[in-house]
Symmetry: C2
Subunit: 664 residues, 2 copies
């Protein structure tokens, strides 16, 4: 790449074919080439520059976002990019915007819940960007619990219209991206009321703003909800607040794909099975897991490269200090995150398969796997996003003081990522859903009903509840079946223990509430098992490229054994492994770290992130960190003047006078 390369030596150390690993990471050669081409396209376009982002005021940042989106669309057309390429281009633009909602929520909502006529009418307008749509569900007082929404849509038979209204302050729509300043339309979720009867929450297509002057339509109050975490980050998004004062829309703007309201105001449930709505849900969660691996890979790439540049202590007689990446304390925090990025990548690729499988079953009206799929995707969403959010912050700390600078890229990466722990299902709520599923599965053991898919191991509960781990020497922990059984036993025993505690309570709901904290831990154990097992399955495939498979085997073991070390209490307390076996696992882990060390830089190079996308001076491909940090500093607005504004007015007079301030 660049002529100058401080990492050249590190790259020479690599024991595997980086190019082949890039393809494994991308999923296929074709996917790699497309992604690589689009990434460079974005990186080389000055309009997509983002290194100045944290220095922009809210208004400047927002205008910059409008400009970038318009430019992105322009390029997509000029270059005749495919749908897939276009999506990639927006991803690499790396700036949250109203546009994400058009394709991520508005269009899918109409596709999923609209009638054929509705799709025919609205989708073309959306695709042609004659309208801009958002997804207006959450309210000021209502988040996770959709059933609690207060906004009403009352049918008026006189005029054949629905009247949308915000009856309370807490019913104000709150958070929807794009709604604050940009969207012209929205799918609004509101309680459907016909003839005084409440039929629960349904979706309605509502025009929000004039297509001529963009002012909100009569009865609609709209605005942005204000600054959010970080500078830059999600402040490029106009998350909105909106109130409806008896806003009327024609009846045919209720999304009637699943249930309808007739001209007479009769509410009709369609015979379309509700389960069909699981399809899009699985798709969205697959995307979230894939995004988690990408976000974590960016942080790990920055921390790994800078850990090879940065030196601290250990200088022998005036020689250079030790690279911090050589410290075991650094390795034991960094390498498990590196392994997690790969682990999440592969479970994300597997979820793509799961999605196609589910869609086929749905078409065949086979709903048998849905509960398992629902629990599995909810759980994976939860543990991958939580681990990624924590992992990004850990990577920031691993960069020492400089990780605190915006120019490290890590503060903004953290601030822009953490919402993933909350949106599309709060991570704790998700784990509780997994917990319910686990309790149901346990209660059905022996009923002859065999658990399927990712919970199939529960079918061997009897064995898993009493099996003994066979590990005698540290290297025994390198055997996949040994690791797998330990994780299966842990998950099974924790679930059964929760079920026992629950049953101590006369009322099941009370029991569930009481042990819910433990249930979330059992859910985590179940989901970590899924990730470990999918990593192991991946390694059973034939993976070309010199040393590539070997590296992945090492990372798979690092992932599993570092999880075991972190949750050693689960494994030992449930008797899945002995304390001695735990110590052997830890010993093996240390050996694995030394095997990762020489390949660390190449393993993060395999993510193929451009310097533009990384947006980090510490993570620069060429490792030329300090001169660039120095250069960047001078760009701060405070450096525009020698004497800062306000100094002469406020501070100078104090320096001049002679009053003792005591020792403050």
């Amino acid at each position: 790449m660049e002529a100058l390369d401080y990492h050249a030596e590190e790259r020479r150390k690599a024991e595997f074919a980086v190019q082949e690993m890039k393809i494994v990471w991308a999923g296929s050669r074709q996917a790699y080439e497309m992604s690589d081409r689009v990434a460079r396209l974005v990186a080389s376009d000055p309009v997509f520059r983002k290194d100045n982002r944290t220095r922009l005021s809210r208004k400047e940042l927002f205008t910059d976002t409008l400009k970038k989106v318009a430019h992105a669309w322009k390029r997509i057309i000029e270059l005749r990019l495919s749908e897939e390429e276009g999506t990639k281009l927006m991803d690499f633009m790396d700036q949250p915007s109203f546009a994400d909602l058009q394709w991520g929520m508005f269009i899918p909502a109409i596709k999923g819940n609209g009638t054929e006529e509705q799709k025919a009418k609205w989708l073309p307008m959306a695709y042609k960007v004659q309208i801009l749509g958002c997804y207006a569900q959450t309210e000021l007082g209502h988040g996770s619990n959709v059933r609690g929404l207060e906004t009403t849509a009352t049918f008026d038979p006189q005029t054949d219209e629905f009247v949308l209204h915000s009856p309370t302050l807490t019913s104000s729509k709150w958070w929807p991206g794009g709604m604050g300043k940009v969207s012209t339309h929205a799918v609004v979720y509101a309680r459907l009321i016909t003839d005084g009867q409440d039929h629960g929450v349904h979706g309605f297509i509502v025009q929000l703003r004039s297509l001529d002057d963009h002012s909100p339509l009569p009865g609609i109050t709209a605005g942005d909800i204000g600054m959010k975490f970080g500078s830059g980050a999600y402040n490029s998004m106009d998350n909105g607040v909106m109130r409806f004062d008896h806003v009327r829309i024609p009846r045919d703007q209720m999304l009637m794909g699943i249930s309808q309201v007739t001209r007479e105001g009769k509410y009709v449930q369609s015979d379309v099975p509700r389960q069909l709505m699981y399809g899009p849900m699985v798709f969205v969660r697959r995307k979230i897991v894939a995004d988690a691996s990408t976000a974590l890979s960016r942080a790990v790439c920055i921390a790994t490269r800078y850990s090879a540049v940065r030196r601290q202590f250990g200088s022998q007689n005036g020689g250079p200090e030790t690279q911090v990446i050589d410290y075991k304390t650094q390795q034991s925090r960094l390498f498990p995150l590196l392994a997690s990025a790969y682990a999440f990548r592969f479970v994300g690729q597997w979820l793509m398969w799961l999605y196609t499988d589910v869609m086929q079953r749905l078409q065949a009206n086979d709903f048998s796997t849905l509960p398992e799929v629902h629990a599995c995707t909810a759980g994976l969403k939860s543990i991958t996003t939580s681990a990624t959010a924590d992992g990004i912050e850990e990577c920031r700390k691993l960069c020492g003081g400089h990780g605190y600078l915006s120019s490290s890229g890590l503060p903004e990466l953290f601030a822009v990522y953490v919402p993933a722990c909350t949106y599309e299902g709060d991570n704790v709520v998700m784990l509780l859903q997994v917990g319910r599923f686990l309790m149901k599965t346990v209660s059905q053991l022996g009923s002859g009903k065999m658990p399927v898919g990712t919970i199939a191991y529960m079918g061997r509960a009897e064995h898993l509840l009493q099996c003994r781990c066979e590990v005698e020497r540290a290297e025994d922990w390198l055997k996949p079946h040994v690791i797998l059984e330990a994780f299966e036993a842990r998950a099974a025993r924790m679930a059964v223990a929760c079920a026992k505690n629950m049953n101590k309570f006369p009322k099941q709901e009370d029991g569930f509430a009481e042990v819910s904290a433990d249930l979330t831990e059992a859910a985590v154990a179940h989901c970590q098992l899924i990730v470990v097992s999918k990593f192991i399955e991946k390694l059973q495939q034939d993976i070309p490229g010199k040393g590539v498979k070997r590296q992945l085997e090492i990372l798979c073991n690092v992932y599993a054994l570092s999880l075991m070390h972190k949750h050693i209490g689960d494994f030992v307390a449930t008797g899945c492994i002995s304390p001695e076996q735990g110590a052997l696992a830890n010993e093996q882990l240390r050996l694995l770290y030394s095997q990762v060390r020489p390949n660390a830089i190449a393993l993060v190079d395999a993510f193929n992130h451009t310097d533009h996308y990384l947006g980090s001076i510490l993570g620069r491909y060429d490792g030329n960190v300090y001169p660039k940090l120095y250069e960047e500093a001078w760009k701060d607005p405070l450096n525009e003047t020698v004497v800062p504004d306000g100094f002469h007015e406020y501070i100078q007079p104090i320096l001049k006078q002679n009053i003792r301030l005591a020792r403050l």
Copy 2:
């Protein structure tokens, strides 16, 4: 307080005298009254307003900071505030600034390392604010390892001056607060060179800027290092970059309290024992621990109050939903943090005693306790700041989506707090120092040398390595001596296990490096024991006020048992407790949570934070959250115009034309 109080019912539930608890929290009635008076003073002064802070540009924020500092000094003089009151006022101003360095670092450095003449000359100017000083130690390429600093101070016998110089780019001073734009002077740390010989790093008083026009003096290049984590937060501080090009200062500006350079250029070590420098270090770390309890208490106060306002799910036939604070999953994350805030408070109060004790010993040339004091303060700095940083982010997540809004106060609190994990000793480096001390202590067992102070329990290692926990029923876990022995046994066994593993290696340093990750865990176990034991000691005092002591006993048990649950692997794997006893601890913990629940709001009221200081709509004393969130939203700059800047230029044209963008 306010007439309207949505928390009135919660406050009625309290089973203890809140007013008395406020005094316990503050440390004394006098401390409480002073703090309360100053807090209200700041809260009622419009100049100290900070609710608009995250909306300011970097320059606006910086000018706002200069203005606030000048105003604070003005008020301190007008009101004839004592030194202690003045410090409090700056604390409640709650905005990092150059002024923190004047009293926190510049003056102490001169006091600690200057000669009497130097103190007589420089301290009055600093106290009178005729000069503004900072502390210039860290460099672009050098942080934790002070010995690695590159800046040189070469003595020139011809002119009787030192020549300060930055020989490399990485030797540029980097990070010092106040140095970027404001400080007129600095204590600069540089390698002392006399007659070609390097005598290591020493401190020098250097004038940086003209006292007339504030421009940097010849040979000095200075600037701000740029944006940092968050909006607001530490961006009010001018962390600086500085290079010296052969800058000359008179010989008497080397801080010569400990060693001197004579007129002839001879380097003389004074007979002042170096250990005296431990005093200030203990003082600084005591402050950091106290600040941790304060920062955590703010986050916990916000999350607890909002958890009582916020309702989700569990609505019975259309009734109100359940307060989220009633969910065990919420309690199991929130209440341990509430308990931690109190635990850190009391260990901080104990450190105040330790400081006086150390100072007395130093005066008596008794250095016997220093190694233990050093390890203890380093470790407590590390675990309290790490737990607080993680705890603030956990509290943010506990507030759901709204915690992501700047108006929740939590994003800025996190961003402004996290540096504490890095400055004054990186937390991992600190733990390794504790680890070394533990290994030394273990190696001396049986040598007759009895461990003292917080490590005294190691004297009973023989017993602790084989003792069995006596717990048979959940309530046995309420006995302080049972908890204490379990924590002592865990710490002792982990330390001894590390020592064994270390000794497997022929060279001790290799062993230390290899097991360093485990050593940090042993260090954490040791430090958590200190916090638990100091909390228990506190409860042995007589604590007045109805129900106050009872509440603290509950919190002490919550703190200890939640730590035990989190680190259950340590306790079970080392055989300190059995898995069954661990399960009983967890069962007891659930019971304790239900006892905390009715007192939760009152327990955070006891922190006595003003709404101004909390700076959070979610944490408002009166619980009037939703109307105020709604009001606040409209203040965002984006809401100044109906149509956002750039919309007509960039987006409108796209809406008007008719081109299909494919499905992006």
